[in-house]
C-alpha cells in the first residue's frame, strides 16, 4: 500500500531523511516513534505529498509521488491526514468541516455528504456538537472532528502526525479510542506518536527513527521487550518510565 525505496530528503545541508526503505501492507498499522527532529513527521508528510523529497521512490496506493498536481490530488483523496494542531476550519461548524471536502472534492450531493458527516461525527462521539464551531470545542473534541473530516473522504490510508501531542492528558484517551476502533476495522495506518500503550495495543509494527533514518522496526512484542539497538533502548527507557 505504501512503498518507500531508498528515499532521501535534505533541508539545505541537513539530511532529514536518509535512505528510507519501508513497505506498509494493506490493513497494517505502523507506529513511528523517535526523538523530536528525528524526521518522523517529515516521513509521513511525504506520504501525501506535503513534503517533497529529492531522491528515491515512494509509491502510495499505486501512485508514484512526485508526479503531476492532478495525480497528487487524486491520491490525497484516498489518504487521510490528521495534524497535531487539528487545523480545523475555524469559520465552519463541525459538520461543515466534515462535509466540505466530500461536497467540493468528491462531488457528493450536500444531503449525502451531510448524512455521511452526521454518521461519522456520531461515531467519534460528537453527535451533540455538529453545529458547534471549532473554538467552542475542547482539544480532544476538535481532534475527533478532524479525524471524522478525514474519514468523510472514505480514504484507504490514514496518516496521523502526533495526534495527541497538543492535547491535555485527560483528553488523550478519547482520541486514542477512536484510532483504536479505526485500526480494528482494518484501516491502513501510519501513526507518529509517543503513546506506547496505543502502539502495544494496535500496532502491527513499531518503528524507531533517529537522525532521519530507520533504526529499528519490529512487532510491538519484540520491540518493547527485546529492542536490539542501544538508541532504541535509550529512547524507550525515557518514554516508558511514566
Amino acid at each position: 500500500m505504501i512503498e518507500f525505496s531508498s528515499l532521501n530528503k535534505w533541508f539545505g545541508a541537513l539530511h532529514v531523511l536518509s535512505d528510507i526503505s519501508l513497505s506498509v501492507a494493506k490493513g497494517e498499522v505502523v507506529v513511528v516513534c523517535g526523538p523530536s527532529g528525528s524526521g518522523k513527521s517529515t516521513l509521513i508528510r511525504c506520504v501525501n505529498g506535503l513534503e517533497p523529497f529529492q531522491k528515491g521512490k515512494l509509491i502510495v496506493d499505486g501512485t508514484e509521488l512526485g508526479g503531476s498536481e492532478a495525480s497528487l490530488r487524486d491520491l490525497r483523496m484516498e489518504v487521510g491526514f490528521v495534524f497535531q494542531q487539528f487545523n480545523l476550519y475555524p469559520h465552519k461548524t463541525a459538520l461543515e468541516n466534515v462535509t466540505l471536502a466530500p461536497v467540493h472534492v468528491r462531488k457528493l450531493s450536500k444531503a449525502a455528504a451531510e448524512e455521511r458527516g452526521r454518521a461519522l461525527l456520531e461515531k467519534v462521539g460528537l453527535a451533540d456538537k455538529m453545529e458547534n464551531y471549532p473554538h467552542q470545542l475542547s482539544g480532544g473534541q476538535q481532534q475527533r472532528v478532524a479525524i471524522a473530516r478525514s474519514l468523510a473522504m472514505q480514504p484507504k490510508i490514514m496518516l496521523f502526525d502526533e495526534p495527541t501531542s497538543a492535547l491535555d492528558p485527560e483528553m488523550i484517551n478519547e482520541v486514542l479510542d477512536v484510532m483504536v476502533s479505526l485500526a480494528n476495522e482494518g484501516m491502513t495506518m501510519m501513526v507518529v506518536t509517543h503513546e506506547m500503550g496505543f502502539a502495544r495495543k494496535v500496532a502491527d509494527r513499531v518503528m524507531f527513527m533517529d537522525r532521519g533514518a530507520i533504526v529499528e522496526i519490529a512487532a510491538p512484542e519484540t520491540f518493547f521487550t527485546t529492542p536490539k539497538n542501544d538508541r532504541t533502548r535509550d529512547f524507550l527507557s525515557k518514554v516508558l518510565q511514566h
Binding site: 490525497r76 487521510g80 487545523n87 476550519y89 472534492v105
Partner: protein, 220 residues
C-alpha cells in the same frame, strides 16, 4: 449676517446635492472595481509565483508612492496623448479604482499571509485544488481578519475622491468652490462641505469600529 449667508448657502442645495451624488457614485463605482482588482492583486502578491508577485508589487508600490493628484492628471491629461481619451468622470473612476486596488491589494495580501499554513495544508490533504483552497478555506478567513482595515480604506477612498474636483468634476468639494463664489464665507461653506463628507463616511467608520470590537472569533 451669518443667518443670511446660511440661508443663501441653503438656496444652493441643488448644487450641493449634485456634488454629493457625484462623490457617492464616484466612490461606490471605484470601490467596486477597486475591491475586485484589489483582491486579484492581493492573491497574486501572496501567491506562489514570485515573478508575478514582484511585478504586481512594483506596480502597487509606484501608485502607493506617488501623489494621487498626479495620478489623476496622468489619466486625464497624459493618456489622451497616447490615444486614450476619457471623460472626466471615467478618468476619475480609473484613477480612484486603481489607487484603491493598490492599497486594498496589500491589505488582502497581508490577510492571506495571516491565515496559518496548516489551513491550506489541511485543505490540500483533502484533495482541494489551489483555487478551491483559496476560495473555501483561505479567503473567507483572510477577509475576516482584514475587514476593519478594508473598511478604513473605503473611508480614505471617499475622501480621496475630492481630488478629482481638480479635473473639473462637480463633486462635493467642487460644489463648495461653486457656492463660495456667491457666498463669500469660506468657513461656513466648507464647514458644510466637510460635514457632508463626515455624514457619508461616519457609518463606515462606525461599522469598522464595531467589527474591530467584536474581534475575529465571531463568525460573520
Amino acid at each position: 449676517m451669518f443667518w443670511m449667508q446660511l440661508d443663501r448657502v441653503m438656496g444652493y442645495w441643488p448644487v450641493l446635492l449634485k456634488g454629493i451624488s457625484m462623490t457617492v457614485s464616484l466612490s461606490i463605482l471605484s470601490l467596486m472595481i477597486g475591491v475586485m482588482l484589489g483582491f486579484a492583486f492581493g492573491m497574486i502578491r501572496a501567491g506562489r509565483n514570485r515573478m508575478l508577485a514582484q511585478i504586481v508589487g512594483l506596480y502597487v508600490d509606484f501608485f502607493r508612492g506617488t501623489p494621487f493628484l498626479l495620478q489623476v492628471f496622468i489619466v486625464f491629461f497624459i493618456l489622451p496623448e497616447i490615444g486614450i481619451e476619457l471623460s472626466a468622470f471615467a478618468s476619475g473612476v480609473v484613477a480612484l479604482s486603481n489607487v484603491a486596488a493598490c492599497f486594498i491589494g496589500e491589505i488582502v495580501a497581508s490577510g492571506i499571509k495571516a491565515v496559518p499554513l496548516g489551513q491550506s495544508e489541511a485543505a490540500a490533504s483533502s484533495g482541494f485544488t489551489r483555487v478551491q483552497q483559496m476560495r473555501h478555506i483561505v479567503l473567507p478567513q483572510a477577509v475576516r481578519i482584514v475587514t476593519p482595515a478594508l473598511v478604513g480604506q473605503f473611508v480614505l477612498l471617499i475622501k480621496d475622491s475630492s481630488v478629482v474636483s481638480a479635473i473639473g468634476l462637480l463633486d462635493l468639494t467642487r460644489s463648495g468652490w461653486v457656492i463660495v463664489q456667491s457666498v463669500p464665507n469660506g468657513l461656513l461653506v466648507f464647514g458644510i462641505i466637510g460635514f457632508s463628507y463626515f455624514v457619508i463616511c461616519y457609518p463606515l467608520i462606525y461599522l469598522s469600529r464595531r467589527m474591530e470590537r467584536r474581534g475575529q472569533a465571531t463568525i460573520l
